[in-house]
Structure formats: C-alpha cells, structure tokens
Subunit: 318 residues, 2 copies
C-alpha cells in the first residue's frame, strides 16, 4: 500500500512544484492561509475546454498560460492584486505525460511573471476533451474594486491596447487567414492581463471590465450596468498593424478574446487616466462615449452612418 497510485504521482511530478505558501504541498484536503489584513478578497473562476476555448493541438504551455491569464484579466478588471489560484484538470486517460509537463511549465513561467502560486485543485480523467477550470484569488483595498456599474452620461469610453487581434488570431491559428510572422496566433494564444493598468485606474474610472465577449457586447454590459447608452466611433478603435492588414473590422469589434480593459472615464479625469496608463506602460485610446438614454450600443462608421451588427459577441448557448 505504500506505492503511490499514478494519479498522485502525476500530481507530485507536475503540479506540486507549482504549489506555494498555504498549499500544504497539495497533500491535504484543502489549502489554508491568512488573507491579507484589511483587504477585501476578489475571486473569479473560468473554464476552458479543448475545441471551444483553445485548439486541441495548441502547445500545452500556452494552454496553461492562457488559462491563468484569462483569470488574471478578471482580477485586472476589478483593480485587484493577484494572490493565488486553484485549478481542476480533466484529461483523457491517454493524455501523454509530456502534455502535463508542458502545461505545468507554462504555468510555472507565468507564476513567476505574475507573482502567484497554485493553492490546490483536482485532477481527473474524462471520456471527453481536456476540460480545465481555474479559480483566481486576489485582493483589493476596501471599496476600491472597479465595477461594471457606474458609467455616467458624458463619460468617455476608453480601451487599452489593441482590439481584434484575439479573434483574428483564432482564424490565423486555424490557418484561415495569413499570419506570416505568427503575431495574430500568438495574441489569441497568450492574452496580456492588464493588472498594472487596472490597479492604476481604480479611483479614476467610473466603471470597467475586461473585453472577453467582444468589444460591442462588453460595451453593452457597461451600458446595462450603468443605465446609459454608448456610441463607439469605429475609426477610433485601436487596431494593430496586422489587424489593419486583415481588414476585418466587424470581426474585430465583436470577436472577443481581447482581454483589454474597457473603461468609463469622466472627462475631468482624462489627464489622470493618461498619467496612470503611462505609469502602467499601457497605451489607452478614447473610442467613444456614454450618453443618457436606453442601454444600447451604437457603432458609428467613419462616414457617420451606424454599422449594423447581427450579434454583439460570442455566446455559448442559444
């Protein structure tokens, strides 16, 4: 009875090296740790399924990093500081050990980059595709979390980085559009959570979220939460050189997987926003504004006409 079954050996080999303080070496029923005194906790969870959220033959290190980074992006959107994470991995029994090794190596790289560690989780078999979940824990000063509700009439609509690379990157990763230098596929596979920017704009932005469902749909979330309307000036939406070459504006505006921050900022705080963005080292662009009215998003083309959209973004059901 002293031999460890294969499941425990797999956890010991690949996941225990990721365990941080409080994880009890992943050898107990749960992790135990003292939360940072005087701070609120911020927690979020995301699932990723092979064939839905990543391609089955994506490099496993990038799968691990994307899983962690999409969750870190949720913390960024709340202006929170990352603390640690729990993870469940359900994989087919025939999954090669090298897949787990690569997956864990990707997580290890990003743990070092973002200052987080593994607190616990579960590893199981599945007759279906690889199914992953990650729960991220972070913290924020009391009442300082950035929320979706709060956009007001007159606020500017701002976005970080570039929009559309993620959606184009999926097409590129599938070989459906040109991507000679691999830039777009890389942007799909490896989001950049805007943690420094999120923490820097707490107290400046009235509201915010991270763009995961698509720019138009996520702007709609800010509108509904704030009870205001919004206009997006399509020509102001920042596009990378690769996205401009791809010339698929509608896809860029609705495609999702951007993981940039979308912010409602009052005009009087524009200078503070730009200073905060400069400190965080992240470009921000004003792409429109909020107005009184029903919670509807209008996308205005360069010629002044409204662009029609059949659907605002990605939905898993219906």
């Amino acid at each position: 009875m002293s031999d460890l079954p294969a499941e425990f050996a797999l956890i010991a080999r690949h996941f225990r090296p990721l365990a941080g303080p409080g994880a009890l070496e992943l050898g107990d029923d749960a992790a135990v740790f003292a939360p940072p005194a005087g701070r609120e906790l911020v927690v979020a969870a995301d699932a990723m399924v092979a064939g839905v959220h990543f391609l089955p033959d994506d490099p496993p290190d990038l799968v691990g990093r994307k899983l962690l980074r999409t969750n870190l992006s949720d913390l960024a959107a709340m202006a929170a500081v990352p603390l640690g994470y729990l993870m469940t991995v359900s994989a087919p029994r025939a999954t090669p050990d090298a897949w787990f090794a690569g997956f864990a190596a990707g997580l290890a790289a990003d743990q070092a980059e973002f200052g987080v560690s593994l607190l616990g989780g579960d590893t199981t078999s599945t007759p279906g595709p690889v199914s992953l979940s990650l729960t991220i824990l972070g913290h924020v000063a009391p009442n300082a979390a950035l929320r979706r509700a709060g956009a007001r009439e007159g606020d500017g609509l701002w976005v970080s980085g570039c929009i559309g690379d993620g959606a184009l990157g999926l097409l590129a990763a599938r070989g459906e559009i040109a991507d000679t230098d691999g830039y777009l596929a890389g942007r799909y596979r490896l989001p950049r959570p805007r943690l420094a920017l999120g923490q820097a704009v707490a107290g400046i932005a009235h509201a915010g979220l991270d763009v995961s469902d698509g720019l138009v749909q996520d702007t709609g979330h800010l509108c509904r939460a704030g009870g205001v309307g919004a206009v997006i000036e399509a020509a102001s939406v920042p596009l990378s050189a690769a996205a401009r070459r791809a010339d698929r504006l509608a896809l860029c505006l609705t495609g999702g997987d951007d993981y940039e921050l979308l912010l409602a900022v009052p005009p009087g705080r524009t200078a503070a926003l730009l200073a905060a963005a400069a400190r965080a080292g992240v470009p921000v662009s004003r792409i429109g504004g909020f107005h009184a009215g029903p919670p509807r998003v209008i996308v205005r083309a360069a010629d002044g006409t409204d662009m029609p959209f059949a659907a605002g973004g990605w939905s898993h059901f219906g």
Copy 2:
C-alpha cells in the same frame, strides 16, 4: 444590442438566484467580499465529469448537491466553516433547460442546508460530457485546521458513519446489485459532509481527512503524512445493514466515495472524541490504530490473517 445573449439569460434564470453577498449578482468580472476578521481561509476545488463521477442520467438536482457536498466534505476534513463557492459548468449545447433548472434547484436546497451561497463562476459549452468544477471557500481559527500529517504511534484510527455504501451505491445505481429501497444508490448520489464533526474534533484528533479514495488508500495517506504504519481491523469497520447484506467487504474497504472522516486520535482523548461526536450527532468507530514502522496499511481479517489488496483505491491515471 440590448438583447441578452442566451448564455447570459441562462445564467440569470438559473444561477443568479443562487448568488449571495459579495457575488455582485454574478454581473461583474469577479466577486468581492471582506474575509472574516482574524480567521484563516480554507480553499479546495473538485471536478466532476458525467460518466466518471456521476451517471449521465442521474437526477440533475442530486448532481448539483453531490458537487457541492464533496467540496464541503473537504472543508469538514480541515475542521473549517463554509463561506461560499465558485462553480464552472461546461455542458453540451443541446442540454435541456430543465437539466439546468434541476441542477440549480439541488444547489439551492443545499445552500439553505449548509449556509453557503454562490460567489461566481463560468458557464460554457462543450463537445464532450457535462464537466463541472467547484471551488469552496471556508474559514478556520488560526492554526486550528485539521491536517493529514500528525498521526503518531499509539493513536487510534477512527472513522465516522458507515464505510462502503458509496461504492456499493454505484453498483446499485447501475443496477448491478440489489437495492430494493434505494438506500445504497442514495448514499452514492448524496454524500453527507461531516462539517459539525470536523469542527468538533479540531484540537482532539492528531490528524484527519475525508474518505474519498477508499478507506485503505486514505489510511495510507495518513500513514505517509505521519510516518507511521496502520492496522485496520476489518471486523471493526462499520457497515450499514445494506452493506452487510451485500457481503462485499473488500469493495467496501477500497471503493471510495464514502465522505466520512478518518481520524487519528490519541488514546487519552477517546472520551473527548466520543463527547464531540455525540454533540455533532455522528457515530464514530475505532477501526484500528497506528504503530511505529514504515507507512504501510495492514488490513487484518476477523481470523487474524492479513487481507491482500491489489490496489488501495481509485486512481484516474495509470
């Protein structure tokens, strides 16, 4: 753009009613709450996959309750008090709305019973079987968590409730053994997390865990963590009337899915243990003891011979 896509409607209809304080109506990127002052946090995560951890045609309310209860059992094993949970649900696009309704109703029932609420999560489609994950958050007084490490030579090996009903219940649910009153199948589908007992034995037991991988294998975990050997007296292992009728002792000892607490208790604290168990309203049985020696589990039959076991319990890989 003001129409909610189907995914958000599904979440609003079934999961938002489960959201508690801090969940921000499931409408933000993360939940925010102040942790209980002066307490340590206890966190654990488990995954459940249709066809592996539950049967695809199991009633969805019982699937939801089992998902929550297996995680509550991890808190029980750490002597922790439940706080809330995050959940990810990956389901085929064709999953009927009634399945989600039943799943949520089961969670609602257990939220009321155990005093927890939903903090956040994610709902996605999958081309494979329903894949669920749940991360539970709880709290405990500083340094009061019950750990797997700590069993010492001379400690008694104690277990709560009955052993084997879970493993037999899986056979019963599959129609492979008789179960006229449905008792065994019910025990497989609906674990009873021993929260009150776990909290009551903190400071009494040297070590403990919940029996999920099988009694023999989980005793092995206590042995390895404590650096001691253990003897289980098979005739002392508590069996339900249904399990005695089934007459499958080896399966009961190795089958898993019991979710009872397994404790190492020094002889001088036996009276305190029995009093704590009585307060918690849970029977406990002494089924063996720990001794100096290699971390090996011996199961002694009623005739004094050692029972051989090919494998100590369930493993997902290898």
